[in-house]
Symmetry: C2
Subunit: 579 residues, 2 copies
């Protein structure tokens, strides 16, 4: 494929050849995603747009910034990486997102929503300061377009006094269908042509912010796209432009076109979990909400991935999807709680980073009983650096008044959810995507936050304090390995990361305390245990957590092993100390 896909040749191609190129790209992307997993339908919809951009503009001199990056696969194939495309999302292979370290064609690293217009403005402003001359283009989907960063960037276009092109790739979808008034406005602009033209003359919203507005409402038509982009390129010297392009998510692959929600992200792995935490969240909340009218579910554009589709169907009046607006979602929850309701905010760990300030100020300083259901915590795998959920125990533990619970399995998760209903304080329950095991006793009907349990007794030499399913599974492996060496370990399910179970901690007689967590070492659970015993000179605390680096993409198992949380290392350490 390498020859056809060389971006440098595109400019010499005829329209027929270009259309054939789109088809090659399409089948290459479908085949690769089916093997490796990845983002499918968003990438399929943007192929013609990407080819047209490569035909009209000059990359990497011109700069192309993909918001989030779920639409960058054709770009990766067209720039300098077609031969490596089959390695995408594999450890050591190409990233599924734009990466400056990977190619000079990737102008800016993305992964979280709404950053591309700010980044484009910064790059364009730098160009102006340095007196250089190139075009800067942001491609943003209508889902990301709901994020507050877009407004912040729009609002500073005039003060920055620079020129960029924003391409709004509007396929009507985030992962869920896009919600909100901006989306309605976009529909209105693209559907009612006469009205649109009148509006444009008078008060198009984007023109208010200093953009010229233009549209391609047939955005999978290469010829139209090329014509419009060529026309626009000329205007970019003296204007900023927003080009509204309507595309079809999943274009060219019937199953995707018909099922855009199901084919946004495709899983490449073959290992099938026994359950997922998100499914348990959905089922349990549905059951609890039958009895308890205070329960409200809040999401930020990821309802199905979080397991809440059924809840949203059954309790529409108590279901809120705010779009990709994690900060706003957090404040909404706090405000609902001031009125005696019981909000459950389900969100991926990596995206909760956006709510850090609001968890401190809105939820915790007001002591409000919001429950955050923190999904995809720990290493999330193939999405890489920008999507690992490895910081949350650290950034949450430092917040006063927050209880942090980490279930050992889905049954305990269910117990925690039941107990959360009458828990009258800020609460986070943290869990990974997959559930692979069920451990020990789960019959507890009256779960209490703040208490740990002993999963396996020991002989007084070593205690492992393990947080969450992955850590407990690992600890049991360690325990098996050590049996051969005559070392017997106690394993504790440290299911409350804040507060600690101080009663159990103070009673531990073991001299060697091992902590295991699926989180960054600095500031995490282990650091807290280390501090707890800091003045007790008879205890040694050794923590297994991720070392202080960004964690690339790969499988969960590969990455846990490589970054410092694996059974062999733990067992070796214990043997060295006790064997």
């Amino acid at each position: 494929m390498t020859n056809i896909l060389n971006g440098k040749d595109i400019k010499k191609m005829s329209l027929t050849e270009l259309n054939a190129l789109c088809e090659s790209l399409r089948s290459e992307i479908i085949n690769t995603v089916m093997n490796n997993g990845g983002h499918l339908s968003s990438n399929l919809g943007a192929i013609e747009l990407t080819v047209a951009l490569y035909y009209v503009f000059d990359f990497p001199t011109d700069k192309l910034i993909f918001d989030v990056g779920h639409q960058c696969y054709a770009h990766k194939l067209l720039s300098d990486r077609p031969a490596e495309f089959s390695t995408i999302r594999k450890k050591g292979g190409l990233s599924g997102f734009p990466k400056r370290d990977e190619s000079e064609y990737d102008a800016y690293d993305t992964g979280h929503a709404g950053t591309s217009i700010s980044a484009a403005l910064g790059i364009a402003k730098a160009r102006d300061i340095k007196g250089e001359n190139f075009n800067v283009i942001s491609i943003i989907g209508d889902g990301s377009f709901n994020n507050g960063l877009v407004y912040e960037a729009f609002n500073s276009l005039r003060p920055l006094n620079t020129n960029i092109l924003v391409i709004l790739n509007d396929n009507g979808m985030s992962i869920s269908p896009t919600v909100g008034s901006m989306h309605e406005y976009l529909e209105h602009l693209s559907k009612d042509d006469k009205h649109r033209q009148k509006v444009e003359k008078h008060a198009n919203i984007f023109e208010r912010f200093g953009f010229l507005y233009d549209g391609v409402y047939d955005g999978n038509n290469l010829e139209v796209l090329i014509e419009k982009l060529t026309e626009i390129k000329e205007k970019l010297k003296n204007n900023s432009i927003i080009l509204h392009v309507l595309t079809k998510k999943g274009k060219g692959y019937a199953f995707c076109e018909e099922n855009p929600e199901k084919t946004h992200g495709v899983s490449g792995g073959s290992a099938s979990p026994c359950a997922t935490y998100s499914k348990v969240l959905g089922n349990t909340l549905c059951n609890l909400a039958k009895e308890d009218k205070r329960i409200v579910a809040v999401t930020a554009a990821m309802t199905p991935s979080l397991g809440l589709s059924e809840f949203f169907k059954n309790y529409p009046e108590r279901s809120i999807d705010v779009g990709i607006c994690e900060e706003h979602a957090t404040i909404l929850c706090a405000a609902l709680a001031t009125q005696g309701l019981k909000p459950y905010y389900a969100v991926y760990s990596t995206f909760l980073q956006r709510s850090f300030d609001e968890i401190i100020i809105d939820i915790c300083s007001q002591h409000l009983p919001v429950t955050i259901c923190l999904d995809r915590a720990g290493i999330s795998g193939e999405d890489g650096e920008t999507h690992q959920g490895v910081f949350d125990l650290s950034f949450l533990r430092l917040i006063p008044g927050l209880t942090i619970a980490v279930p050992k399995d889905v049954l305990e998760f269910e117990n925690m959810l039941k107990a959360s209903v009458n828990f009258n304080a800020p609460l986070v329950i943290r869990y990974p995507k997959e559930s692979l095991s069920v451990f020990g006793d789960n019959t507890c009907d009256n779960f209490k936050f703040g208490k740990w349990e002993i999963i396996k007794g020991g002989d007084g030499e070593v205690a492992i304090l393990a947080c969450g399913e992955r850590a407990i599974r690992l600890s049991l492996k360690v325990s098996s390995k050590l049996e051969n060496f005559g070392v017997n370990v106690k394993i504790i399910n440290a299911r409350s990361v804040k507060p600690f179970d101080e009663e159990m901690l103070s009673a531990l007689s073991e001299k060697l305390i091992i902590t295991v967590e699926d989180n960054q070492l600095i500031g995490g659970f282990g650091d807290g245990i280390c501090r707890y015993y800091s003045e007790q000179k008879d205890k040694i605390v050794k923590s297994f957590a991720y070392r202080d680096e960004f964690i690339e993409h790969g499988t969960v198992e590969e990455l846990m092993g490589e970054y410092g949380v694996n059974a062999d290392e733990i067992a070796d350490y214990i043997i060295k100390k006790c064997g």
Copy 2:
């Protein structure tokens, strides 16, 4: 004053009496702020508006939410706290911000910008779910109105299907004059009446989002305000409304009207610092920027408070104020750095919490040489819970690839700034507002990040590792106290919180290691040192940092003492261990 100011009596007053009430409120506020410090000119501008709201609506049944809260003083006087108003911002007295714990009239705690519309939506939605009946009102200034949260909230108004009143109190100012296209649009709406009416009919931005738009362009006129609010109240049953009210910041106090930037915040204390870090930042950056054309300064609506007015005047083409948009500012800096520029982002510690995700993803995972100048770090005093800068060492330390420097005084700060110019990685320099002392050697021309220095030698029993000016001043006090007990301490200027100076740490012979920092204990500097020595059984690490609670308002000294960082406690501990 208690009688006149009882909100319950307002509804019986004549217009003349109401105007007299406004004047009483005005003089009460001026007198109190002159004594206690506080937010002056923003509060003065909103007096008539607040009185009109109390006249027309029924609080606390109706809910009133002040964005940030710099306009809530008249509300505090009119509700249930006139007698305590003289205690505002004093330890144990009234808070300078709305606080639910303080009064049922305070519907939602605020302090950071842009949250009030989200909070109003949440409260209104809860009302609807519960089938209750009251009005929900957000008052937001045009400065906060630039924040992305406003757009996120606007965008979800229709999906939430509820009704609120948003009062946009437009005085043309944040702390600095308000910037951006939204502000231009607001000016345009209020000034060009004919055009406005035409726009309103066609495509007023707010109506696009589902609000009715109305305006009072003479917003210090009580009669007009009352008339308009009465009219609007009726419509609120079936509509959400945005009422655009033009007010005069500093109204009624000539000096404030003429100097709104200087009188936004008034300092109550009499202790005058020998210098401020912000002044040193401004002077040093101005000097460096003469030689180095790569230097760009970025702020989020606080240019003067951060010491950068002169820089903005001298280098307008390299100065960016984005308005109250901390996230956008962070991404802009990252993007500028991708092009080889050298951005300095100056910001208060508490507001940097908003940029947490962008520091991780945009700056650090891309390894970009952005320098964050982190002002008002540590306890900031009278503004209380929402403004203390006590979490930053913890939430920054957990981010891979970030260097964190804490100067011991303004001279070292200057050296750090000079060294930062050629430091090619993400960097935070953290400092409090005031500088009171200069310590030890500052002649170093070639400052190196990552290295500590010994401020005072000891005798081998105790070493104090102190972070920053306040901690070092405290440590010297401790040292003096201990001299009487024959205990000699070594004091180390631990000016690099990340990375540690491991060479110095590994060479320390003292058995007792004390850490002192102006930061939350959990995850902070001390926790890192505790971890460093965790496997060395001959060392005891004891940390003095703030205990795990929200820190109320009071003076810096009062609060440091009460929350766990004071010379007496430290000295007592050391005497107990060594004496």
